[in-house]
C-alpha cells in the first residue's frame, strides 16, 4: 500500500485582519471591501517559502527517522533560489543525510504540490524509493490594495509518502494540463500579473476543476457521491460553491476554502486544505483532492485504520491556533518590502556569503547540528574539535547532535533598538537547552514584553541574511519563546 504515512503543517503565527487592509487602502480600490472577511496568515519578516516549508517538514517528521527519507520534493512558486536546489536546502535543514537522496523542486505553477505528490507516490510504487517527503509552501508578495492582497495568505504543508503504516492510501489520480493563464509572473518580476476575474472564475476554476474531476470519475468508474470529502482550492467563495453544485456534491462534503482563517496559501493550499480534512478524518473515508494551475491534478485517497492513532505534532489546526494579530498594515507592508523605511547606515553592511565556509559548515548552519562529546556526553554548539567541558577536554571524539528539535529556556536576553532590524527591537539572548548545550540566538515571533528569563523556547528555521545585491538568502535557526495562550 502506498500513501501518506505522516504529515505536518505550518501557518505563520502572524495574522493580518483584512479589516486593517480595508481601513488603510479601500480609498484606493474600494472593491477590496467585498472580500474583507476574516484574516490572512502573514509570514514574519524573517520567513519565506523555504523557511515555512522547513517548519512544516520538521512538523511532519517529528519523532520520525529522517535518515529513512530517500528524497525531498519541494513545491512552490516563490522559492528563494532560481538556480540552487531549494529542496536541497530543505533536506539539509532536516539533516536527512546526502547519500541516496534524490531531491527535486517542483515549481512555476500552483498545482506543483499535487504534481509533486503524484510523482512521489509513483516513485514509491515503482519500487526504488521507500519514503519521500513532499513539502509545499508559498509566500507571495502582492501589490497594495489588490484582490491578491486580500485573497492570498502564507503557509506550508508537508507530507511523508511511503508504504509502511499508511494513514491515507493513494488510490489514483488524473491530470489535465492546459495553458490557462489566470495569472503569471515573468522572469525577474516581483509581482503576479492577473487577468479579469470574471474570466478566471467562469472559464478557469469553474470549468477546469469540475471537468478534471468528472474525467477522473469517468475513468475510475466512480461517482462523486462515493466520496466523503471533495477538496479543491478556489479563493472566489461563490465559484467555490458553484463548483460543488456543478459536480452535484453535498456542500457539507466540500471543506471551506479557508479564506477567513489564513487565505489562499498558493502551491501549499491544496495540501493545507487536504491536511486540515485529514486531521478530522475517520478510517475508511474516501477523499478527492484537486488543485488548480495550468490545468488540474485530481488525487484519490482513502484513509486507513492507522489514521485513528495519528496526530500531527502541530499540524494545520495547531498552527492556526497559534496566532497573533498583526493589526498594523504599515508593519505588514514593511515586512513585505512594499514601503521603504530607513534601516540606517548601520544596516548597510552586506558582505557576500562565503560558499566554501557554508559548504564546510552546512550541517551546522542549515541543520543546526552540533557536537556531543562521546566521553562526557555534553552537547555543544558550535561544534569544535575540543570538548567545552573543562573537566573533560576530549579531542575529536564527538558524535553529531541535532539542536533543531530540542527545547530550551531563556537564560538572558535583550531587545536591541540600536541593531539594524526590520522589526525593532532586535530580540536575542542566550538559550540553555533542556538536555544540555547552549546557543546565543536571535529570537523570532515574539514581542519584547513577552520575554522573561526562564521562558521555554523552541527552535525555528528563519532567514538570517538577505543579500539583495547578489540575490542570496542565508538561513539559520532562531529561538521562538513559547508565549502562553497563542497571543
Amino acid at each position: 500500500m502506498v500513501g501518506i504515512t505522516s504529515y505536518g503543517g505550518y501557518i505563520p503565527r502572524l495574522r493580518l485582519n483584512r479589516g486593517a487592509i480595508v481601513q488603510e487602502m479601500a480609498w484606493y480600490f474600494p472593491v477590496i471591501m467585498a472580500v474583507a472577511q476574516g484574516e490572512k496568515a502573514v509570514a514574519n519578516w524573517d520567513e519565506d517559502a523555504l523557511s515555512m516549508a522547513v517548519e512544516a517538514a520538521w512538523d511532519c517528521m517529528a519523532g520520525r527517522d529522517r535518515k529513512a527519507i530517500d528524497g525531498v520534493y519541494l513545491a512552490s512558486t516563490t522559492m528563494p533560489f532560481a538556480d540552487r536546489l531549494n529542496a536541497g536546502i530543505l533536506a539539509t535543514a532536516l539533516n536527512t543525510g546526502e547519500q541516496g537522496m534524490m531531491n527535486a523542486d517542483f515549481a512555476s505553477c500552483l498545482k506543483a504540490s499535487t504534481t509533486a505528490l503524484i510523482s512521489a507516490f509513483d516513485a514509491i510504487k515503482a519500487g526504488d524509493m521507500d519514503n519521500i517527503l513532499v513539502a509545499a509552501s508559498d509566500q507571495r508578495r502582492t501589490k497594495m490594495a489588490t484582490m491578491y492582497e486580500m485573497f492570498l495568505g502564507d503557509g506550508a504543508a508537508a507530507v511523508l509518502a511511503g508504504k509502511e503504516d499508511v494513514i491515507a492510501e493513494f488510490k489514483g489520480s488524473y491530470s489535465v494540463g492546459c495553458d490557462f493563464i489566470d495569472h503569471y509572473r515573468g522572469y525577474d518580476k516581483a509581482f503576479n500579473y492577473g487577468w479579469e476575474e470574471r474570466w478566471v472564475r467562469d472559464e478557469g476554476y469553474g470549468k477546469i476543476i469540475p471537468e478534471a474531476i468528472n474525467a477522473f470519475l469517468e475513468r475510475s468508474a466512480m461517482k462523486i457521491q462515493d466520496f466523503d470529502k471533495v477538496i479543491y482550492p478556489c479563493y472566489f467563495a461563490g465559484t467555490h460553491r458553484a463548483i460543488a453544485k456543478k459536480l452535484g456534491i453535498d456542500p457539507s462534503k466540500v471543506p471551506d476554502n479557508m479564506h477567513a482563517v489564513c487565505g489562499d496559501t498558493g502551491t501549499a493550499h491544496p495540501m493545507v486544505m487536504f491536511l486540515s480534512a485529514l486531521e478530522q478524518a475517520k478510517p475508511g473515508e474516501k477523499i478527492l483532492v484537486a488543485s488548480f494551475g495550468q490545468g488540474c491534478d485530481v488525487l484519490y485517497f482513502e484513509t486507513t485504520e492507522k489514521i485513528r492513532d495519528f496526530r500531527p505534532a502541530t499540524g494545520i489546526s495547531g498552527s492556526l491556533a497559534n496566532r497573533r494579530g498583526l493589526d498594523s498594515y504599515p508593519k505588514y507592508a514593511k515586512f513585505r518590502d512594499l514601503i521603504v523605511a530607513d534601516l540606517g547606515i548601520r544596516g548597510e553592511a552586506n558582505p557576500n556569503t562565503s560558499l566554501t565556509v557554508l559548504w564546510r559548515n552546512r550541517k551546522m548552519i542549515l541543520g543546526f547540528v552540533g557536537n556531543k562529546c562521546k566521553q562526557c556526553s555534553t552537547p555543544q554548539f558550535p561544534p569544535l574539535p575540543v570538548c567545552v567541558n573543562p573537566d573533560c577536554g576530549a579531542e575529536n571524539d564527538f558524535e553529531e547532535y541535532e539542536f533543531a528539535d530540542k527545547s530550551g529556556e531563556v537564560l538572558m536576553f535583550t531587545g536591541d533598538m540600536l541593531s539594524a532590524s526590520v522589526d525593532p527591537p532586535a530580540i536575542y539572548g542566550l538559550i540553555g537547552f533542556d538536555e544540555g548545550g547552549r546557543a546565543l540566538l536571535d529570537f523570532a515571533d515574539c514581542a519584547l514584553g513577552d520575554v522573561k528569563v526562564g521562558m521555554k523556547v523552541r527552535m525555528s528555521f528563519r532567514k538570517k541574511i538577505t543579500d539583495s545585491v547578489r540575490g542570496f538568502t542565508g538561513y539559520f535557526w532562531k529561538a521562538v519563546p513559547l508565549v502562553k495562550g497563542g497571543e
Binding site: L358, Q380, V388, T414, D416, S419, Y428, L430
Partner: protein, 402 residues
C-alpha cells in the same frame, strides 16, 4: 607562578588628548597630540625610543591595518612598531607589549600608543561589527550590538540574585550619575555635565534594560605611555617614577555560551585576571589596598558586575555598595575618577591607556581638581567582546616602594 612584572618597569611619560567628537582632527593629529605630551613629560628625545606598540581596533574605518600609520604620523626613527588589536583591551595590550619589551631587556625605552577615530562612520554607536566576527560567525551569530550584548547581563544578574530589574536599573543609574559627576571635573572628558538618577532612569531605551545614559559615549581620542627600566628612569631624574605592578589578561574559552555552567551574572575572565593581578602585585585585600580604579564602564551594568569580579564587592552585593556610595569620589574606593568611559567615550585603542593616564596623574599628584588624597595603588580594567565571550585586561600601577 611566574615571578611577574612587579616593579620591573617604570612609566616615565604619558599623554592623552581631549576625547570627544574631534570632527576636524584625523588619527594622525590625535596620535601626535598625545605623543608630544608624553615625550615632553618623559623629557627625552624620541630617538631614544627603541620599540613601539600601537593599539587600535576598528582598522577598517579608522587608521587602517598595520602599525605604519603610527610610525609615519609620529615620524618614528625606523624602529619596530607593532599594531595590536584585542577588542577593548587593545590599548592595554599596546602597553603590555611595551612593558614586556622593557622587562625582557630587549628594549630600553618603549612607547605604547592607542588611537581610535570612531566619529568618521556617519552614525552613532560603535561601527557595525557583524562582518568583523569572521565569515562563519556572521552566518549564525545574533544581530548583536555592544549595548545589546551587555544589556543581557542585567537580565541574567537580576534572575540570579532574584532581584527586580528595577532595582538593578537604579544601581546602574547611580553608576552613571557618579561618573558624570567626576567627568564634570575633567577638561579632557567628552561629556562634562552632571546628570540625575531620574534623568538616567527616564532616558530612552537602547537595548532593554539599558537606557541611553547607561551607555558610554562614543568619541575620538588617543593616549600613550613611555616606559623604561627603573634604572634608566633614575638616570633621567625620575627615581620615584610610577611602577607597573601587574598586567594580566584573560580570555573566554567559549564555556560561557556553550556549557551549562556559567551563571549569566559574572565575568569569568575578569574574576580570573583580577585574582592573578593581585597575586602579581602582592595585594591581599583589594578592597583595602587599592586606592582608585578605572574600570571598563562601556555600560553601567558592566561596571556594576565588574565590582564583584574584581573581588571588591561580595557576590550579589555590588548594587548595595554602589547605592552606599562606596565607589563615589568620596567613597571607600573611588571608581572612574576621571569620568570613565561614560564621560570620555570609548575610542577603543586609546581607552586602556587613557585609564592608565588618570592613574598616573593621580599617583604623581597632578590630577588638579580631581586629585585624590595620596593614592598609592591604582587599578585599570578593560573588557572587550560580550559577557559570554570576552577579552579582559587588568593592570595595576603604583608608586615605587609600595
Amino acid at each position: 607562578m611566574a615571578k611577574g612584572i612587579k616593579d620591573k618597569v617604570a612609566v616615565i611619560g604619558m599623554g592623552c588628548t581631549r576625547f570627544g567628537e574631534r570632527w576636524n582632527d584625523g588619527p594622525e593629529v590625535l596620535m601626535q597630540e598625545a605623543f608630544s605630551e608624553a615625550i615632553a613629560d618623559a623629557g627625552i628625545d624620541k630617538a631614544r625610543i627603541d620599540a613601539a606598540w600601537l593599539g587600535s581596533c576598528f582598522d577598517e574605518v579608522n587608521i587602517g591595518k598595520s602599525a605604519l600609520p603610527a610610525s609615519i604620523a609620529l615620524r618614528l626613527p625606523n624602529i619596530s612598531v607593532t599594531r595590536v588589536e584585542n577588542f577593548c583591551a587593545s590599548g592595554t595590550e599596546a602597553f603590555r607589549g611595551a612593558v614586556y619589551a622593557v622587562a625582557s631587556g630587549a628594549s630600553d625605552i618603549a612607547l605604547a600608543i592607542g588611537v581610535e577615530k570612531l566619529k568618521d562612520i556617519g552614525y552613532g554607536g560603535l561601527p557595525e561589527f557583524s562582518t568583523a566576527m569572521g565569515s562563519l560567525v556572521s552566518m549564525y551569530f545574533p544581530n548583536m550590538t555592544a549595548p545589546g550584548g551587555f544589556a543581557m547581563l542585567a537580565t541574567g544578574y537580576a534572575a540570579k540574585y532574584g532581584i527586580d530589574i528595577s532595582e538593578v536599573k537604579r544601581a546602574m543609574a547611580h553608576v552613571s550619575v557618579k561618573s558624570h559627576a567626576n567627568g564634570v571635573l575633567n577638561p579632557k572628558a567628552h561629556l562634562r555635565k552632571a546628570v540625575t538618577e531620574e534623568k538616567v532612569l527616564n532616558a530612552p531605551s537602547i537595548a532593554y534594560p539599558v537606557g541611553l545614559f547607561d551607555c558610554c559615549g562614543v568619541s575620538d581620542g588617543a593616549a600613550c605611555a613611555i616606559v623604561t627600566t627603573p634604572q634608566i628612569a633614575a638616570s633621567l631624574g625620575k627615581k620615584d617614577a610610577v611602577r607597573v605592578k601587574a598586567l594580566q589578561l584573560s580570555l573566554s574559552n567559549g564555556m560561557e555560551f556553550q556549557y551549562n555552567d556559567w551563571d549569566m551574572a559574572h565575568f569569568i575572565t575578569a574574576s580570573r585576571a583580577s585574582t592573578a593581578a593581585y597575586e602579581e602585585a602582592g595585594i591581599k585585600n583589594p578592597r583595602q589596598e587599592i586606592d582608585m580604579m578605572e574600570v571598563h564602564d562601556c555600560f553601567s551594568i558592566t561596571e556594576l558586575v565588574t565590582m564583584e569580579d574584581l573581588h571588591i564587592s561580595e557576590r550579589g552585593q555590588a548594587p548595595r555598595d554602589i547605592m552606599d556610595g562606596f565607589y563615589d569620589r568620596d567613597g571607600g574606593l573611588p571608581c572612574q575618577v576621571d569620568g570613565g568611559l561614560k564621560c570620555f567615550g570609548h575610542p577603543i585603542g586609546a581607552s586602556g591607556l587613557r585609564m592608565l593616564y588618570e592613574m598616573y596623574l593621580q599617583l604623581l599628584g597632578r590630577a588638579e581638581k580631581r586629585q585624590l588624597k595620596d593614592p598609592k595603588i591604582g587599578l585599570t580594567h578593560n573588557l572587550g567582546g560580550f559577557p559570554m565571550m570576552n577579552v579582559c585586561s587588568v593592570a595595576i600601577i603604583g608608586k615605587s616602594g609600595v
